[in-house]
Structure formats: C-alpha cells, structure tokens
C-alpha cells in the first residue's frame, strides 16, 4: 500500500455538530464547553469516529472505498476545534499529528486481497 501524506482540517465546530447529528452521538463533551471543561478538557472535542472518518477520507481520496477491508484507529489525544492534522503513512497504516506535533491517532489500514 502506497499512501501519500495529507492534511486534515482545520476541524471546526460545525463539522462536529453535523457529525453528531449524522451518527446520533450527542455526548455533551462534543457540544458543551462547560461540560468539557468539567471533564478536564480545554473545550469541546471532536468525536473520535469523526477524526477517524476524516483520516479515512484522506485515504479514500487516494485509493477509493472498494479496496478497503478494515481500519483500526487508536485515539491517543483529544482533537480540538481549530486543530489541523498532518497524516503520514506508517508501516501498515497511518499516523495523525496535530499542529503541536502530538500524535492524536494511530491507525492500521487493511486492504482487500
């Protein structure tokens, strides 16, 4: 599998709201800053599956949907509104870093034979 590096974002609150509506995930940690701060976060955060979907989208843009068999994403840090991610290919997958260079997602990508 040969993937090129790509960028995601900056991620915005409207994307987070739309994603929450589309998948019916209304956890207040994605919508309510006060609630998010009470959980120790600086603001609301993107849904993990939104971050995964955005990274996956960069892969789909390169290889399409039909070759994909699986995607295993591990979330290593919260993604905040305004974050722009740099996604780089790794052995067997991709890794996404935020503007501070912190890894936020590590994923394996499985292709059909």
């Amino acid at each position: 599998m040969e993937l090129r590096p790509f960028k995601v974002g900056p991620i915005n609150r409207l994307q987070i709201a739309r994603f929450g509506c589309a998948v019916r995930d209304f956890n207040p940690i994605h919508f309510d800053d006060e609630f998010a701060r009470s959980a120790g976060l600086p603001s609301v955060i993107a849904h993990g599956p939104l971050t995964a979907s955005l990274v996956l989208d960069g892969i789909v843009a390169q290889i399409g949907v039909d070759r994909l068999r699986g995607f295993e994403a591990r979330f290593t840090a919260p993604v905040l509104p305004g974050d722009e991610l740099e996604v780089a290919p790794t052995e067997g997958g991709v890794e996404a870093r935020n503007s501070q260079g912190q890894v936020v997602l590590v994923a394996k990508v499985h292709l059909k034979a």
């Binding site: 994307q15 987070i16 739309r18 994603f19 509506c21 589309a22 998948v23 019916r24 995930d25 209304f26 956890n27 207040p28 940690i29 609630f35 009470s38 959980a39 849904h47 993990g48 599956p49 939104l50 995964a52 979907s53 955005l54 996956l56 989208d57 789909v60 843009a61 399409g64 949907v65 039909d66 994909l68 068999r69 699986g70 995607f71 295993e72 994403a73 591990r74 979330f75 919260p78 499985h110």
Partner: protein
C-alpha cells in the same frame, strides 16, 4: 462502568440509511471524497439506539470516559436507502489499574442477513 454487562446484547435495532444521513455526514467530512467515505462510516454503533441507550446500559460517567479505539471491518460499503439490522453487544468489560474498559461490538447486516460492517469500540473510564 458496569462490568456485569459483559457478553450482553445491549440492543438490536433496524434502521433505514437515508440519503439525507449520508449527505449530512458528507457535509461533516467536507471534501470531494466525503460522500464516498460516508458510505463506509454512516453509523456509530454505540449511539444508534439513541442518545442515552449505551450510557445507561454501561452506566458510564461521561465526564470520566473517553474513546480508546474505533475499528471498522467492511464486507462492502453501505448503500443509501437500504434497511440495516444492527446488533450491539458488550464483547468484554474489565478493570486494569484505575481504568475500566468496555469493548462494544456493533454488527450491521442487510435484509438478507449478510454482514455489511462490524465495528469494535473500546470505551475507557477513569476511576475517581
């Protein structure tokens, strides 16, 4: 988090994947490939039965919970307008140190009972 739910089916639901849902998701993704990508990820299994269903079933404290992993295994992309049957169950639940883990599996099948997609979601809840 309630570890006694290990092995339990949390909910089974039927849903029709509306074209509008794909459009909303594509708009959230916001790229030229978004509509195609949306056919891979139109659902988040744990939230498919409504806002509180999983939270109440697992007794999760949302202020202490986070998502550890989200995995997708596809047989094929979803098709806008198709009816899907979804089963969501707890594959594992355990405590390690001061963290509680729950692995929730969501299986999406078509009307013929053929698997479309399987999602595996790991929730982590901090103690205290």
């Amino acid at each position: 988090m309630d570890e006694s739910v290990k092995g339990k089916v949390l909910f089974e639901v039927e849903d029709v994947l509306s074209p509008q849902q794909i459009e909303t998701l594509a708009a959230a993704i916001g790229t030229s490939a978004g509509k195609e990508t949306a056919t891979l990820v139109p659902y988040f299994g744990p939230s498919i039965a409504g806002e509180r269903a999983l939270v109440d079933a697992l007794n999760i404290d949302l202020r202490k919970a986070l998502l550890g992993t989200q995995s997708y295994e596809w047989v094929r992309p979803f098709r806008p307008g198709e009816r899907v049957r979804v089963k969501v169950y707890v594959d594992d639940a355990y405590t390690k140190g001061n963290l509680r883990f729950a692995t929730v599996v969501s299986e999406f099948k078509d009307e013929q009972g053929e698997l479309i997609c399987r999602q595996r979601t790991v929730f982590i809840e901090r103690e205290g």
